[in-house]
Symmetry: C2
Subunit: 361 residues, 2 copies
């Protein structure tokens, strides 16, 4: 499979009829066709993410009148989810979709481009990425891996997770066994819990059989599709661990350079469209499914106590201080992220937060 | 000017070489070129809106390799702002950009597609439009006017406005002379104030000379560009009158039908891209400018008292009840809007609102 992917990539490059520069004026309105593959980190037809990526590929094919065809692969169809970054970086496949924080093994700095605990919500992340210097830093980092990243989707605030133990104080995190990957997992571990990074397919059974006491996943839309509401007593909010995770489309830089400017622009517009419409889909479906869950009443919806959240944030700050002390790239990116967040936090207080509070009066 | 616009439109149609059907397969990847005009409701280079629309036109030209060129006109360059809808509806010009609530003189129902007081924020509006049935109702309404609408931008929550009178109770609205157009203005009038609908160019001087006691406009980014912070003592929030105004791109249906499917798709993607990126730009620039204003300290930033907001919402509900009683189209659209809002309000409480509160702990 991999060998065929490489050959298809080379074929597409040869067809473009111009060298690896970005501007090939002759080709700009030409009839060259490209057949690309896109590997993703999502299970087949995964609601919101997987379905959104398929729609993006359809948009690109339609907007290019078939000149850029993209075949989308779910996780494990061509490569496992955790090999998406490397596969696109090496040019085996032209394009990928996933989340930057999956690549923290490659670069810890990458996770700021998805989400960190107590970080930024979707409006703030988009503001930072598109208009606050974030995307420039993102591209600078990924340049090292031969990749061009685009913001391409966001779930909005996630939920805190499904629990079979009550969380009444910080002591209740001691010994808690929870499926919670990444930075959030590291925070839980320092609070005395045990963090597992189970893949989607293992979560339901692990929660139902008591292998884990709790799990976070996404929000009502995805979580209930997986049946998690049938395996837990409590559904906690807010999702302190992922307040507005930004998803990414990554493109191999040589493949990108082969595209004429019109097709590059179409790809860029299709990514931004997914960024816009995936968030809308999550807003609508999460709202619907939450209503179904509250109607059903089999699960109790609860907030984490304030002192638990404050403690988790303190631990987050400790871990961030350790990270920026050892990793200059992470330090540079976090400086931009954090400066933006401070201003954004005040603007959110005056705008979104004040409005939402007013509507509840 | 109008005559030339009509002729250019006809020319473009003739060039497409196929009748007014949507699918012209021969033309789909062809070299037909279209030269369109887009009239807008925005002053020249108006920050965020005007600049965003110019970027959208550039995206379309680049993605189509010059096959669809759109010349953008600011308000009054070709037609006054308030004639955009009618001009595109009649086909004098192919495309327009503005906000649906400007056309409430044509249809009161249109305003739900932009904003109503105490309505929905940007995430909720996008959820309703794209994934909650809103866009279907929008297209059904605009079908009557020979128009195809697309969501194309949103400022996010606006500010309550600049005041030279303190608002300490509902009595302080009595006799208040404020620049506040549309539904918000009607609410103020019923609360005993006087609402003016001054155009942008008249606001600063009117506030400075005391012709008006107060004005709302957009948010720190646009407002301070206009110098309003130099003419007022207080800056009030939240913007109860426009919690997440959605802007629109409208296209004449005959012009739309002339485009091959690839160019139609490009237009659709460019509108969604503007919808994504304009909100990001407002998030970033409003946050920056708010920080500048707070640093400067010449204006006091205040919240409206709760009882004032509650009263304004009660009046809003009265006016909505009167509107739906007399206008069946408005009743149908408001039923969808309001059902969506109820679910979205609960989801926002559990997601965005809970997260923002947590970060402030």
């Amino acid at each position: 499979m991999k060998r065929r992917a490489v050959l298809a990539g080379v074929g597409a490059m040869a067809l473009s009829g111009c060298a690896a520069e970005r501007n090939c004026d002759d080709a700009a309105s030409g009839q060259e066709t490209f057949e690309w593959k896109m590997v993703t980190t999502w299970p087949p037809n995964f609601p919101g993410m997987g379905t959104g990526v398929i729609r993006m590929a359809e948009h690109i094919e339609k907007a290019s009148a078939g000149r850029l065809k993209i075949r989308v692969y779910a996780a494990n169809e061509l490569v496992p989810a955790m090999q998406v970054f490397d596969t696109v970086s090496r040019g085996t496949v032209e394009m990928g979709h996933g989340a930057a924080y999956y690549w923290k093994g490659v670069s810890e700095a990458a996770q700021f481009f998805t989400a960190i605990p107590f970080g930024m919500n979707v409006l703030e992340m988009n503001g930072w990425l598109y208009a606050g210097g974030g995307l420039e830093l993102y591209r600078e980092l990924y340049e090292n891996y031969n990749l061009m990243p685009f913001p391409a989707g966001n779930t909005g605030v996630q939920m805190g997770g499904w629990f079979n133990r009550e969380i009444n104080s910080i002591d209740d995190l001691n010994g808690l066994v929870m499926r919670i990957p990444g930075f959030g997992g590291a925070v839980l571990e320092r609070a005395g819990g045990t963090a597992y990074a189970l893949a989607g397919g293992e979560i339901f059974t692990s929660l139902q059989t008591g292998v884990i006491d709790a799990t976070e996943w996404v929000g009502p839309y995805n979580d209930m599709a997986m049946g998690l509401h049938e395996a837990a007593r409590y559904y906690y909010y807010p999702g302190w661990q992922e307040p507005g995770p930004a998803l990414e489309c990554i493109i191999n830089k040589e493949a990108w350079a082969q595209l004429p400017v019109d097709l590059q622009t179409i790809v860029e517009l299709a990514c931004a469209t997914l960024n816009d419409q995936m968030t809308a889909e999550f807003s609508a479906r999460n709202a619907e499914q939450l209503a179904v869950l509250e109607e059903d009443q089999s699960v109790e919806i609860r907030t984490f106590p304030d002192d638990v959240l404050v403690k988790l944030r303190e631990i987050t700050d400790e871990l961030l201080a350790e990270l920026v002390a050892k990793d200059p790239q992470a330090a540079k990116i976090y400086a931009s992220f954090d400066a933006y967040r401070k201003k954004a936090q005040r603007w959110s207080a005056v705008s979104e937060q004040a409005f939402l509070r007013t509507r509840d009066l």
